[in-house]
Symmetry: C2
């Protein structure tokens, strides 16, 4: 006998929100009190709005939305990981400002045929990453839509002036806080429709489905004066181009110094550099710091120095081991409408 599958059309809006809120409440209840000292929530879930007493010098505010079959496919990822990753992309924006994520809201757009169990798993993903990063989801809304979308907005707090993209100076070192390309590698593998994955492939798939944003790294960077940062969401070549435009400068990158996971090289021995330069969604930080700060920085976080900021008229150059220059078209990232 087949178990009855509960669809969201079997419930009214308030019953559904109540079921999903419980998943978050149970997640938050498992925290220790000391994990919550930075939060000062006055009104949570269930009123017209959430409310808190601000206790940061700066607040940062971001919003990021993912759409089924555009940003994710439920056949490639569990609903838990879809929820985790949707919130991860917001946390990463907060991390890139040198801030700590605090309070989030989520709106789900759903067709009536969505399975309630899938949504509970998605909410468990929200709860798990919230606990990992010591933030709270404080409310949500559900609307009817032809396709599934997950729209999240997130508030973060910072004690230092937030990291921007616009302070890079000629001579600054360009750094990455972690390897790039693995998420794209995982995506390419999942698109191949294999029946099973070896251990190297599994590492890449996990990096694609369940990324860990670099909040701690962003907090360390925010203590360095004149640091500049953004998260790698569209691919480092594309993201570095934006940083250089904002800062009115150019850059030279040494392709040999780009940090990549050994699993990416094993799975894609011919293409790993192209994947590393163009692949998005690694959610590590791309930053610039004054060159004399890199040694200090290495004492606190893993840092790879990948190049140097140059004058604007030199554009962006990627240099190979033999000194030749790569063609930019190999490294272009993701554009949603083309």
């Amino acid at each position: 006998m087949q178990a009855k599958v509960m669809l969201i059309s079997d419930l009214n809006e308030f019953e559904l929100i109540s079921i999903l809120s419980k998943v978050l409440d149970q997640g938050h209840a498992s925290w220790g009190a000391s994990d919550m000292n930075h939060l000062d929530l006055a009104i949570a879930n269930g009123d017209d709005a959430a409310a808190w007493t601000p206790n940061s010098n700066y607040e940062v505010f971001t919003m990021d939305t993912c759409v089924e079959n555009v940003h994710f496919k439920s056949e490639f990822s569990s609903w838990h990981d879809i929820g985790w990753k949707a919130l991860a992309s917001n946390i990463s924006d907060i991390a890139s400002m040198g801030a700590q994520p605090l309070y989030g809201l989520v709106t789900l757009g759903l067709p009536p045929t969505v399975n309630v169990q899938d949504l509970k798993e998605m909410y468990q993903g929200f709860a798990d990453i919230s606990e990992e990063y010591q933030m709270m989801m404080v409310g949500g809304d559900i609307v009817k839509s032809e396709n599934v979308f997950i729209s999240i907005s997130l508030i973060g707090g910072a004690s230092q002036s937030p990291l921007t993209r616009s302070r890079a100076k000629v001579g600054d070192s360009i750094i990455l806080t972690g390897p790039v390309g693995s998420s794209k590698g995982g995506l390419l593998l999942s698109q191949q429709g294999l029946n099973s994955y070896n251990e190297h492939q599994t590492v890449l798939i996990n990096k694609h489905c369940k990324p860990y944003p670099h909040v701690a790294q962003g907090l360390v960077l925010s203590n360095i004066s004149n640091a500049c940062a953004m998260d790698v969401s569209d691919g480092i070549f594309s993201d570095l181009t934006k940083l250089c435009e904002s800062s009115d400068c150019g850059a030279i990158i040494d392709s040999e110094s780009i940090p990549v996971d050994p699993e990416l090289i094993k799975c894609f021995p011919d293409d790993f550099l192209k994947i590393a330069m163009s692949g998005g969604e690694d959610y590590v930080l791309l930053a610039t710091v004054p060159a004399n700060q890199t040694e200090n920085l290495k004492q606190d976080i893993n840092v790879s120095i990948i190049g140097e900021i140059t004058p604007k008229d030199q554009g962006i150059t990627v240099v190979a081991a033999d000194g030749s220059k790569y063609d930019h078209n190999d490294f272009l990232g993701w554009d949603h409408f083309r």
Copy 2:
């Protein structure tokens, strides 16, 4: 010769965001400096996140999303007014907490065939209502989607403890800060597909398409101890039910005292009460205050006393002029999934 219509697929994501950001920037540039004293934005549009220095005792945070053909139809409303109203519903949530709207973010979900001019008009709607309520849209994102959706998140600031739904006490007066039902009346008229509207009908259509949330009224209410408030978004009968559930109480309502616009009575002489009780999206405030505070309140804002909070076991009763009781089923509001 027909003018070329520019579609969003003719632009890349960054070109499109740049065009739309300009509409907001021009709107904000028209403000006087004194209008902006309550805002302390450190980083605006164009970085990974917006940032500000918090200067309110409390911050409130809401998110509201509307979907084409579920919450709005572009054949019934201009794109300007669709933008205005999408932001209005968020501002109203902030108003219902007794707070001032401050900073907003918007995500648009768009099919590639959307016309850029329509989006510019929608953004003009955001700019106009932002100026009206002295708040700023500080960023946005655009994602590809099968259907159009507009997801907005909004931060507000309050000096007093935010108004909740859960503090109503037996004996409190139940009040409305403005007439109800006109928005639903306007919706019903627009669904009739008339070729033109008379002056009464035009009033209702405008109330439906371009509502003015009651921010000033919420700020006044937040100065009354033990006041309770929510905005009328789903219809007063449905919304009052939620308030009573949160406050663990019942209510008795005098149907004769429900404030309605004369135009609603003229256009719907037989059904105006049912429309007033069940129609949503008027965005006035439904509040409860200690009975001895109503006279004070009337000196500052327009207030209609419509009933009284009762013990929970008495449920919610709506009494007619002749003392008989109405059937609740006449007054049920909007449920998105049924």
